[in-house]
């Protein structure tokens, strides 16, 4: 032990936040930026994780799990927001169901794929329009604390919330 604070990778920090928040049910649709995080949640004995085929399906599965008493999250790319808008509105927001969406936010600074840009730019605007609160990493703020704050907001407001984690966040790998 050196006595110095342990330095976590971005994925480890998000995973710590998931555990600190008490999330115990996760669905995922992959993104290259989630390739370290998804195996972590898959191997965590206290978390039931399942891959889903489409984010809209994930919203439905998480709603059912919430009705069964679970604390739910979805790991996804921001493109999946477009795939799930009707379910977020006419299921989660209609019935006051909380959900934590942890999004790899593509199509922003550092994006090499042009096709990611339209949804990347639209994502915060869509969330604003839907009145879905979202959180973004800030310097000096522990990403794990950000995740916990986001989940607590979802529970207090009884609605979906998003954490947007852009390309530069994931590049801070040790």
């Amino acid at each position: 032990m050196t006595g110095l604070p342990e330095v976590l990778t971005p994925s480890e920090a998000v995973f710590k936040g998931i555990k600190d928040a008490g999330i115990d049910f996760i669905v995922s649709v992959p993104c290259a930026n989630l390739k370290e995080l998804i195996p972590m949640v898959d191997e965590a004995p206290e978390i039931l994780h399942l891959p889903v085929t489409r984010e809209e399906e994930g919203v439905g599965i998480c709603a059912g799990a919430y009705m069964g008493g679970k604390k739910t999250a979805m790991l996804m790319q921001n493109s999946g927001l477009g795939n799930s808008i009707n379910a977020l509105a006419s299921l989660d927001m209609l019935y006051n169901i909380p959900l934590l969406m942890i999004m790899s936010h593509r199509g922003v600074e550092g994006e090499p794929i042009v096709a990611q840009v339209p949804m990347g730019e639209l994502t915060p605007k869509l969330l604003d329009t839907m009145e879905i609160p979202y959180f973004m990493p800030e310097s000096g703020v522990d990403p794990a604390d950000l995740i916990v704050k986001a989940w607590n907001t979802a529970v207090e407001m009884k609605k979906p919330v998003a954490v947007l984690l852009p390309i530069p966040f994931w590049r801070k790998q040790a």
């Binding site: 039931l48 439905g60 599965i61 069964g68 008493g69």
Partner: protein, 187 residues
């Protein structure tokens, strides 16, 4: 047979077994509510396509409870990936009943692909589901409901709706009443 005949059989089954029931959007929910409104029913008023997904999530979250979802052919066609996810997870406590009447029954009976060429039982099997049964009579459905509490039943039916009234409960009221049971430990 029509959808209401399937709903009568399923309602009798869940009433007896105590299973949690997820009802599909539109007229199916109204018919369930009209035939048998009990606190173990969840009425999905929006989010077309997701009744089978809600049922799966609930069944995985609560292996101590039986879960039944009633879905339709139009809804399954809208969320076909659900059949792959259900097959992959295959929970012992989850039964999905697809009432396949070949039509979008709540919107004017426009035909779906199952009225032309698509075989949902074959799709379900192709997605990897092992327990897939097909029935086309109320007696046939009653018979398989006695024997099975997991897997998928495809009920071949004719299009047609009853005039079941609108559900007067609020969404808040529906989910609160349901979760008072679904989120609690089993006795």
């Amino acid at each position: 047979m029509k959808r209401i005949d399937a709903i009568n059989e399923i309602a009798a089954k869940v009433k007896e077994s105590g299973a949690l029931l997820i009802g599909n959007i539109g007229i199916p929910c109204k018919e369930i509510h009209h035939v048998c409104d009990i606190p173990t029913n969840f009425y999905m008023l929006g989010s077309m396509g997701l009744a089978s997904s809600i049922g799966l999530g609930l069944a995985l979250a609560r292996p101590d409870k039986k879960v039944v979802a009633i879905d339709g052919d139009g809804s399954i066609l809208m969320n076909m990936g659900t059949l792959a996810t259900i097959a992959t997870q295959s929970p012992e406590n989850y039964l999905l009943v697809i009432v396949d009447n070949g039509a979008y029954g709540s919107t004017g009976n426009q035909p779906t692909a199952t009225s032309v060429v698509t075989d949902l039982a074959a799709v379900a099997r192709g997605a990897g589901n092992r327990d897939v049964l097909e029935v086309s009579t109320p007696e046939g459905l009653r018979d398989v409901l006695k024997k099975t509490e997991k897997g998928i039943i495809v009920v071949k039916a004719e299009p047609g709706n009853t005039d079941a009234p609108v559900i007067e409960m609020t969404p808040e009221g529906i989910i609160k009443r349901f979760m008072d049971i679904s989120s609690q430990p089993s006795h």
